[in-house]
Structures are given as structure tokens and as C-alpha cells.
């Protein structure tokens, strides 16, 4: 009986210690996009960091798609429950504009490259906002069904050529990207597209070009739709994020090939919400998660290019498939012969206007 009591006591003490231990662990809520993307961050950043720092527990929240609106609502309610948010660059700029996220000192808050180059130089032009820590370069580009075309598609204008390549196309239900491609294929010099698009006549010109394929377009709103439409044979060619096409081609082995011509580069990265309860801890994690090796590690899991110049040479093989990842990166020289870098300032000014025009055009 005495032994039994002792065992009970020990059990109770252990339980108390266990609870206390749990309560002491700092939980960091990291908001990201879910799916394969969060898995790549889990593998490259979260898991190694939690292993090194047993006191930290990282919790994934997959609501990045609506993060901007949610953070705004949280800030208005005065209760920010997130610690780190993964957003696209345009959203980072907007959140920074609204004062909802912390300003980052890129040199003192982030790790320098192994050769000592300060972070601000290593990231270079990709620091598009003082609140934004770039993480990956991704692109919106096309994949096409190799078994449903008479010859390989090589030019972005093949998307607009329904005679040579008949069948449906899937495009994003947004003016971004589509309007730039329409102008390029309507003969506008690539360097001039934003000058043309900024005028009312230019916007009409882009829409007129899109009009020529309007009846053949399936419009997507979520990045997963195009891979599904391609796999089902619903469309011959479709745009989406390059990482999605990579998994369709390399992991699911579908008869699909990439059309990299005039891919639209965009950035994705971290912002720290104002009002986080764990600022000191989250800054430590941020420094770790955006160092040269960690950014290179992420590309083992997903085909997005690391945002640091110093990470590029470290890009290795896919973690499971063992294939060389470099040729699948949007930033690979062979893929990046012709590219558009999203013009954030232009879209900040003109998105409302062009979006209204684009939607009015869709309704016609």
C-alpha cells in the first residue's frame, strides 16, 4: 500500500512537472499557406529550430490566404494572436503601409551571408518593403499537356494562339499577369508594358487581346485548380504557381511540360505583426529561418528559388525524389531568359482601377 501511494505521488508530481514544462514552452504561431508549402517550411525551418530550442513550440496556422484581412481585424480588436506571417510582397507592402507589421532592420535583425555580406546586400532588390523579409522567389507561369498539342509550346503567345493550339486555357481571375502577357503578345515592347497599361487605352488594348481567347478560358481563383484541370484534361494549357506545376510533373508524373516564357516573378516572405506577444522569440526564429543555409534547405522540398543570392549555389537535390532541383527553379538561367518582375508600385496605384475594368470586362 505504501509503495502504491508513493507511486501515485510520483505520478502526480511528474504530471505537475509535465504541465509546468508545457506551460513554460513558448508557442509561436506561424501563419502560412498550408499544404506542400507549409510542409517545406516545417522541414527546412520549424523542425530544426524546435530541435535546437526545446523551449519553443511552433504552431502552424494555414490562413495566409486571408491573413491581411484577418490581421487588420485582429489589430482593430486589439488582440493579435499571431507571431509571424508568410505573405506575398504586395500584401507585405500594404500591411506595412497600414502600420500593422513591424519595421525590420535587415542588417541587424537578420543573419549575414557566410562570407560576411550583410543581409540587406544579400537580399538586394528583393527587399521591396522595410517590413518584409523575402524568403522565396516564385513565378506564375504556364504548364501544358504534352499529349494534346501538335508541337511543344515555347512562347507565351502560343497561349493566345487558339488555331495552332486549340482547347481551353486556364487563367487567374485577376488582371495581374494576364494583362502584361496580353500586351506583350499584342506587340508592346516588354520594357514599355507598364507605361502602356497605365493609360486607359492601354488597359482596353490588353482586354481586347484577352477578348480573342475569352470564350476558351476557364478562370481560376485557387492555385490548386490549374493542376487539377490539367490532370483531368479539361484544359490544354494553364497558368499557376511554378511549384504546383513542379509537383504535377515530377511528383505526380502527369504528361505536362513547363512553358517558362515571360514568367511573372513574385516574392513571398515574412512579416512580423505589431502586437505579437513573443517579439523577442520570434525575431530569433526569423534570424534562423532566413539564413543562407535554411533558405537553400527549403528548396529540397519545393521548387521555389531562395531569395538570398548566397543560397543559390547551395540548392541541392529534392529530399525524396533525389532529382536535381536547380533546373526546376524559376530563377535558373535556362528558365529565366524572359521574365517580368511584378511592378509593385504600379499595381498599388492601379490595382483597384484595373481590377474594376477587368471584372467589368468579364461580365460582358
Amino acid at each position: 500500500m505504501k509503495n502504491f501511494m508513493r507511486a501515485m505521488m510520483a505520478g502526480a508530481v511528474m504530471a505537475v512537472i509535465g504541465f509546468a514544462g508545457q506551460a513554460m514552452a513558448t508557442e509561436l504561431v506561424v501563419v502560412s499557406w498550408g499544404g506542400a508549402y507549409t510542409a517545406s517550411q516545417q522541414g527546412a525551418y520549424h523542425a530544426p529550430y524546435m530541435k535546437k530550442n526545446p523551449g519553443i513550440k511552433i504552431i502552424n496556422d494555414d490562413s495566409a490566404g486571408t491573413a491581411v484581412a484577418k490581421l487588420r481585424a485582429m489589430a482593430q480588436a486589439g488582440n493579435v494572436t499571431w507571431d509571424l506571417i508568410d505573405v506575398v510582397a504586395a500584401d507585405a507592402m500594404r500591411l506595412c503601409d497600414e502600420g500593422l507589421v513591424e519595421v525590420i532592420n535587415h542588417d541587424s535583425d537578420l543573419a549575414a551571408a557566410p562570407d560576411g555580406t550583410p543581409a540587406s546586400k544579400d537580399f538586394g532588390d528583393l527587399i521591396v518593403s522595410e517590413c518584409f523579409v523575402p524568403q522565396i522567389v516564385y513565378s506564375t507561369t504556364f504548364g501544358y499537356r504534352t499529349d494534346k498539342v501538335s508541337k511543344p509550346m515555347t512562347s507565351i503567345c502560343d497561349v493566345f494562339d487558339t488555331n495552332t493550339f486549340p482547347g481551353k486555357r486556364s487563367l487567374q481571375k485577376s488582371p495581374l499577369g494576364n494583362m502584361e502577357w496580353a500586351l506583350i503578345c499584342d506587340g508592346v515592347a516588354p520594357a514599355k508594358i507598364y507605361d502602356v497599361l497605365g493609360t486607359s487605352a492601354g488597359a482596353d488594348r490588353a482586354l481586347a487581346k484577352l477578348d480573342s481567347i475569352k470564350s476558351d478560358v476557364v478562370w481560376w481563383t485557387a492555385g490548386a485548380q490549374t493542376p487539377q484541370l490539367l490532370a483531368d484534361g479539361e484544359v490544354v494549357v494553364g497558368s499557376t504557381y511554378n511549384g504546383r506545376l513542379f509537383s504535377l510533373i515530377a511528383e505526380e508524373k502527369q504528361p505536362v511540360a513547363m512553358l517558362w516564357d515571360w514568367q511573372v516573378f513574385d516574392l513571398d516572405g515574412w512579416v512580423v505583426p505589431k502586437g505579437t506577444k513573443n517579439k523577442a522569440e520570434v525575431m530569433k526564429f526569423l534570424k534562423f529561418a532566413t539564413d543562407t543555409q535554411r533558405l537553400a534547405d527549403q528548396s529540397k522540398f519545393i521548387s521555389y528559388g531562395p531569395a538570398r543570392a548566397s543560397s543559390a549555389p547551395l540548392v541541392g537535390k529534392h529530399g525524396k525524389l533525389g532529382i536535381d532541383m536547380a533546373p526546376h527553379m524559376p530563377t535558373d538561367p535556362n528558365n529565366a531568359k524572359t521574365t517580368i518582375l511584378t511592378n509593385y508600385e504600379f499595381w498599388a496605384d492601379n490595382k483597384d482601377d484595373l481590377d474594376a475594368k477587368f471584372n467589368a470586362w468579364l461580365l460582358k
Partner: protein, 422 residues
Amino acid sequence: MNTAQANTVLLTADGTPLKVSLARAQRRSKIIAFSMVAPLLIFITIAFLVPITDMLLLSGNNEIVQRILPKTVEVLQSWDETSGELPDEIVFAAMVDDIKKAKAAREHTKIGQRLNYESSGFSSLFRKAGRKVKKIKKPPYKEALIKSDKRWGKIETWQVVKQFSGQFTDGYYLAAIDFKRNPSTGNIDSLPSKDSIYLKLFLRTMLLSTLITFLTFIIGFPISYLLATIPTRISNTLIIFVLLPFWTSLLVRTTSWIALLQQEGVINDFLILVGLIGEDGRLAMIHNATGTVVAMTHILLPFMILPMFSVMKTIPPSFMRAAISLGAHPWRAFWRIYFPNTVAGIGAGSILVFIIAIGYYITPALVGGSSGTFISNRIAYHISQSLNWGLGSALGVILLGIVLAFFVLYDRIVGIDNMKLG
């Protein structure tokens, strides 16, 4: 009798007047009754009234301009925007000062974003000004500001600031019905037809919702009739088939329609197999209005069947038998006796389906393509993507108004007392 009542006060056993004693007892039961509904009342206030009031306020709120540019707004009042001349030095000085303060509070971009809704370009104008104003230290501010960006030298820029400097704005409501205020004249112009969005979307939402309501009625009526007239043992089993899809996730039901209706989908394959259409003639039944109507009719069908079923259950079968035995043709007996008794259920089902349909957005977003999206898709876009909450709220208020209008109309025609959910 009357005089006796007026003169003598009735007393209870303990001597207090009966009236007082009664009132006391009633008050107690009122307090108990109120405290029992209090949680619901609080819930409704927090979850319903507060957000709706908030939405109403947000759709007309424009205090941001006066808050961030207080001095500029004040001195701009004395400027005649129709004079064709730029404002005076004092206005430019006020603007530089306001932007400096806003920059320190990191608010200069907020004002840019607000005015960008009315006129494209303000976003970059204020962002750039935020970077440049710190170099402007002494007068003349006018030249310095125009030198930093030549748009400050345009009359239209100042006209927009003055036009939208009020505490309240109708700008969001005008935008929500495809109108725009001309900054220089102050007149309200309608947008050219090629640029109009919202009126078309409101109209489409109502037309498709009406069609969906009608289809759920056509399909649901025979099903409810069958369920209400067969023996309970069988109808209890059959009602599972109505409820099972109802309990299935909305996304699952919507995506299974994609698998069925798409061009390489089950239905098209079947039609080709039986030779009704050729390989080139595959029907486009999804990513358009057809897809929205089919998927939403299916999803909303239980909302029509259940109220109709519960009303039909209460109609005694002897009514029909009596009518027929009195010589009515079965069809006539159905039409004159049975059908009028079901109106309460039809009314309840229709108004439920219609009001749910008019605010639907997930299904139209997934299967609607460009011709099958609803106004709610634009509201969701403005709330979660473009962050133009003012416009999103204005659209929401109009949608709420439409729903209320339909409700009142229904009350006038059918009478809300006649509505039965079971």
C-alpha cells in the same frame, strides 16, 4: 359595482394592496424571464447587431481624411476649386506639415490608399511624398512640393482632396451602384456601360437566385409529397436520402459536381457513349452560370423539401378523399384542396432558399466561372483581398436592403404569419 371597486382597495391576506402584490409577483417573473433570454439577447447583440451597425457606419465613414490631413482640409475650404488655379502657398505648407506628421505616425500611406479608391495614382503620390517631405524644410513649399512630384501641380489632385475631405462620404455607395463623383464639378456621373459591374451583378444574383428557388420548388414538391403521403416507416428511411447530402460538406458536394459536369467528366462521357453528342460537341456545363445553378439547386434542395414536407404532413388525407367523393376530378381536388394547404410550406421554403442563395459565395466562386458569380463574391473580394472595406460594406448594406425589401414584399403578398417551418 363600479363605485365599489373605485372606493375600496382590495387587500391581500398580509394587508398589502392586491395591485402592489400582483405587480411585485409579476416583476419577479419578468426578471426571471428576462434573465433567461438575456444570454440570447447578448449573443444577438454581439454577433448580429454590432457587426451590422459597424458595417453601416463603415460604408459611409470618411473621417480618415480630416484626421490625417487636418490643416490641409481646413485651409482648403477657402480655395475655390472651380477657379482653375492652384491653391495658395498656405495650402501647400499645410499639406507638407500634415504629411510630415503622418509620416512620423506611418499613416501617410493610409490616406493615399483611401484617395486611390477615388482616383488612381494617389497611392504612389502619398508614398513618394512621405519619402520626400523631410527634405522640404523652408518655403516656398509650393515649388518644392511640385518639384518632388509634378502631380502636386495639377488642379485635379487638389480637387480630389477637397471633394473627399468630408466627415462622411457617399463615394462607396456611388461606386457600389456604378456611379462616380466627378472631382472637378462635383456632379455624379454614371460609369460607361463597359465599366459597370455591380448593377449587373446585383441583377444576375437576383435572377439566378429566383431561378434556383423555382427549380428547388419544382424538384422538391413531388419529393415532399411522396415523403408526406407514404407510410412513415418508409418515409423515415427515404428522408435520410434528403438529409445525407445536407450533412455532407459543402465543398465535397461542390467539387463532386465539378467531376460530374466538366467537359471530360462523367456526364459528357456518358452522352458521348450513347451517341447523343460527338467528341467535339462536349457540353460546357461548369465554370459558367449553368454550373452555379445546378450545384446550388442541389445544395439548397433540403431547405425547400423540409418545410414543405412538415407542412404536408399536417394535411389530413381525408380532405382529398372528401373532395373526390363529392365529385371532383383528382387533379381538381389536388389543385383546389391540397395545393392551397401547402402554400405556407412553399412560402417558407422559397424565402429560405432565396435568402440563402442571394448571399452565397463559395459555390459560385468554385463553379461559376465568369458568368455564374454573384455579388457576394465581389463583397468577399473587397473584404479579404482588396481591403476596400468601405466599398465591401456599402455592397453589403445594399444586399441587406434587397433581402429586407423581399421580406416585406413577401409579407404583403403571402403574409409572414402564414409561413410555417413545421
